[in-house]
């Protein structure tokens, strides 16, 4: 059988990097094909080339055996290739229909626009593929899972035969993810070719027919999921045996350290981001805050660290009320913060590693207002030794560090201040497996050392592996809290979707 799409010998060079090194990749009509690899393995580059966003230095693309002259996304779309990016390409204030027809040539520019015909066609497509969407609904009023369905409808409306989805479940609740995979299966059954780009092994095992694994710009294997296992895929992806399960000692948590009482906070858009949220962070425990991105997690971290003003409620460190304290006051009181955005919030790219390492404590490294650079450098050198930060050059610009190394700088800096409470936000987002292991180990070590840690993460696996207690946030409220020992995925998934996780028998999410 001729594959719907084949890429043959694709080579793509970026300055200093060989992103794709003679890559071969096939996808058949009627199959779900997963493209697996760590960050920087070259899987996104490959898909961008297939979608016509990047040119290629060598190699060819064939559609049903015939070479495709691929110069732009327009050529890709015309050939039946469609792609859904991680960040949805939707206009929030437009209806689903308006988003679907946007950019399509429909007669003259100034002729009255026909939206009713397309709306009917969209409703018809929705029915055929089990994609429930109200064509007239405005995108901003739709949950993320439904927005994603609009993206899929956009592709189907343009007669896409091949659908490429980049990390499609990253922003979904477990229930929504399950529903999406069901839709993808329907699409494949009706003769479409589906590619999901992902690093989630269990999802691949559950949904994909075949997996192609990439590492360092090369394809290292292409296997049928039925003939493989998670362990084998992980080994192929990383290139060595991995055991990503954190070992935790059981030890009772100490007294309360950081207390949040009825915290109310506004988002940048002036909407309510936190609505009377309460949490209690205890000594020697990791409290995992699970939730789909954008449910108030960032606002909570900012409110705890003084970067956002609370409009109501209290933040207490021990007996001390920090609700109105400045970020500097909170730092010196013992609240440390590792922000999610390491590049723009957690570090200054143009400054050196040493300068970043003392950032915030620079007064301690100054005499008569002049920085003692030597002390700063030796402090950074110690940090780099302890956390294995590479390259081991304190004067190296922080902006040029890899994500994992930069994260270690952030984490090291936070720990060096010997905080009582540590707020960690998405600590392993975008890191490769080796770096994830290191960060996890460090967080567990801190827990042993008696720190109170709030772990904010959208990765359920991370939450389940590290936390002693798990709280679930949804639209700025805590939907429920449970000890890690009693945590089960379905209950957490329900709470992430906004229910209290108590009703049973709701298997069909």
């Amino acid at each position: 059988m001729t594959p719907f799409l084949s890429a043959r010998g694709i080579v793509k060079r970026f300055p200093g990097v060989l992103a794709n090194d003679h890559v071969d990749f096939d996808v058949n009509a009627g199959e779900i094909h997963a493209l697996l690899g760590e960050n920087g393995a070259g899987k996104s580059t490959l898909m961008q080339i297939v979608y016509g966003l990047y040119g290629r230095d060598a190699g060819e693309i064939l559609i049903e055996g015939r070479p495709l002259d691929l110069r732009s996304t327009r050529d890709a779309i015309a050939a039946g290739i469609g792609m859904i990016h991680q960040e949805f390409m939707l206009v929030r204030r437009f209806s689903a229909t308006e988003n679907v027809v946007l950019g399509l040539k429909a007669g003259g520019a100034l002729k009255p626009l026909d939206l009713e015909g397309p709306a009917r066609e969209i409703a018809e497509l929705s029915r055929r593929y089990g994609l429930q969407v109200d064509p007239a609904a405005r995108i901003e009023h739709l949950p993320v899972g439904t927005q994603q369905r609009v993206e899929i409808l956009k592709l189907l409306y343009r007669k896409a035969k091949l659908l490429i989805l980049d990390e499609p479940t990253a922003v979904l609740t477990p229930g929504e993810a399950e529903a999406l995979l069901k839709v993808l299966r329907t699409l494949a059954d009706q003769g479409h070719a589906v590619v999901i780009v992902t690093h989630k092994l269990h999802e691949i095992m559950a949904a994909a027919d075949r997996v192609t694994i990439m590492r360092d710009g090369r394809v290292v294997g292409s296997v049928k999921t039925a003939e493989s296992s998670e362990a084998e895929l992980a080994r192929l992806m990383v290139g060595r045996e991995v055991a990503l399960t954190a070992r935790r000692s059981t030890r009772p948590a100490g007294p309360s350290v950081l207390r949040v009482e009825g915290l109310t906070v506004m988002s940048d858009q002036g909407r309510s981001a936190l609505e009377g949220l309460s949490l209690d962070l205890r000594e020697g425990e990791i409290l995992g805050l699970a939730g789909v991105d954008g449910n108030g997690q960032s606002e909570l971290a900012q409110a705890l660290t003084g970067l956002r003003t609370a409009s109501g409620g209290r933040v207490l460190l021990g007996e001390r009320d920090l609700t109105r304290a400045s970020p500097a006051e909170r730092r010196s009181a013992g609240v440390a913060y590792v922000p999610a955005d390491r590049r723009h919030v957690g570090s200054v790219g143009a400054l050196s590693i040493a300068e970043n390492a003392i950032l915030g404590d620079q007064r301690a490294y100054a005499r008569f207002g002049l920085l003692d650079r030597k002390r700063g450098r030796s402090f950074a050198a110690g940090l780099m030794e302890r956390f294995d930060i590479r390259p081991r050059k304190p004067d190296y610009p922080a902006g040029k560090l890899s994500g994992g190394n930069l994260q270690k700088v952030q984490l090291g800096r936070a720990i060096a201040s010997d905080p009582r409470a540590l707020i960690v936000e998405q600590p392993t987002r975008g890191l490769d497996v080796g770096a994830i292991e290191a960060v996890w180990a460090e967080l567990l070590r801190l827990r042993e050392a008696g720190k109170a840690i709030l772990l904010i993460s959208a990765e359920l696996e991370e939450i389940l592996n590290l936390s002693d207690r798990i709280a679930v946030i949804y639209e700025g409220r805590i939907m429920g809290e449970l000890p890690a020992a009693q945590a089960d995925l379905r209950r957490i998934g329900l709470m992430m979707a906004g229910s209290h996780g108590e009703e049973d028998g709701h298997a069909d999410l």
Binding site: E87, F88, V91, R92, L102, L104, A109, L110, K111, P112
Partner: protein, 312 residues
């Protein structure tokens, strides 16, 4: 009976002046709406109006044709729009800085050119002005007739432009695409739309409309060029866009309210009252500052307003 008559005269005079004065404000605001819907805040319309007024006066005065004057004003707007579009869209300069500096530049240029033209001309300035064109029958309706249907052709045309602007923005694919570009240019780009082209289109439309609004001021209100002929009406148009929540029909209502404030001040001068007219004259500008402060209208503002777009 006398009181009644005086009141009716006052109201008719005031409301008719309202419609007349709202015209150029609305024309400029309708154009600005297209720029902002595409994501560009064109503060430069104040200066463009002035250049439009100058060229319109010069063209009308030297050719004797009022319509050529109008065309001249629009051509001046188009030229200025090319320059501003380049600065806003291609050079991705700060839209506020470019707009403000352009207004100062336009004032200098207009004053200089005006002196140059007058220096070469002999004889006194004659007024170049459209005359009132009452609409048959409708203008005879008591009370409403003189308010709505006894105006220069430019007033009627402006009303048509407002309806047309609404139709184009809301009911055509050009309008849909333009709005998409102002809301989420990346989504528009992936949908295959040329973001740069739509932003240029928005800026050019706003500048042509501003040029026409400047021409309107000369050809239907003053009859001559003066350096103070615009004096902030471009800024008021910016406020009207905000009060109109980026919608042509609501902008028309906002323009009428600003026009009413301006007209009240004129009418009160005739009818003499205790209120100092200068105070009323200052009122629209005060409201404009409030509108521009960002306290109003944030929720309806195009999401990518003032955000330049580039593909990484």
């Amino acid at each position: 009976m006398d009181v009644d008559f005086a009141l009716t005269a006052f109201l008719t005079g005031w409301l008719a002046a309202t419609v007349r004065l709202a015209g150029p404000l609305l024309l400029a605001a309708l154009g600005e709406l297209f720029a902002e819907r595409a994501g560009v805040l064109n503060i430069g319309i104040e200066g463009v109006m002035l250049l439009g007024a100058l060229v319109a006066w010069w063209a009308a005065w030297s050719t004797g044709s009022l319509w050529l004057g109008m065309l001249g004003g629009m051509a001046a707007g188009l030229t200025a729009g090319g320059f501003l579009g380049f600065m806003y869209v291609t050079a991705q300069a700060s839209q506020v800085v470019v707009g403000v500096i352009f207004n100062i530049f336009a004032l200098g240029l207009a004053s200089y050119a005006y002196r140059l033209i007058l220096g070469g001309a002999s004889g006194a300035q004659t007024a170049v002005m459209f005359s009132v064109l009452p609409i048959p029958l409708l203008s005879e309706i008591p009370f409403l007739g003189p308010i709505l249907f006894r105006h220069t052709p430019l007033v009627y045309l402006t009303a048509l432009v407002a309806a047309g602007a609404w139709f184009v923005l809301r009911r055509t694919s050009f309008g849909l695409n333009l709005r998409a570009v102002g809301e989420n240019p990346r989504a528009a780009d992936t949908a295959g739309l040329d973001v740069t082209a739509y932003r240029y289109a928005g800026v050019l439309i706003s500048c042509v409309a501003a040029g026409a609004a400047g021409a309107y001021l000369v050809l239907a209100q003053v009859g001559q060029f003066r350096e103070t002929v615009v004096s902030g009406q471009g800024f008021i148009a910016l406020a009207i866009v905000i009060f109109g929540r980026w919608d042509p029909l609501r902008a028309a209502i906002a323009a009428l309210i600003f026009g009413a404030a301006d007209a009240l001040q004129l009418t009160l001068q005739i009818f003499t009252s205790g209120v100092p007219p200068q105070l009323l004259l200052a009122l629209p500008y005060l409201v404009t500052i409030l509108a521009m402060s960002g306290l109003i209208g944030k929720a309806d503002q195009p999401e990518s307003l003032m955000v330049p777009y580039s593909r990484e």
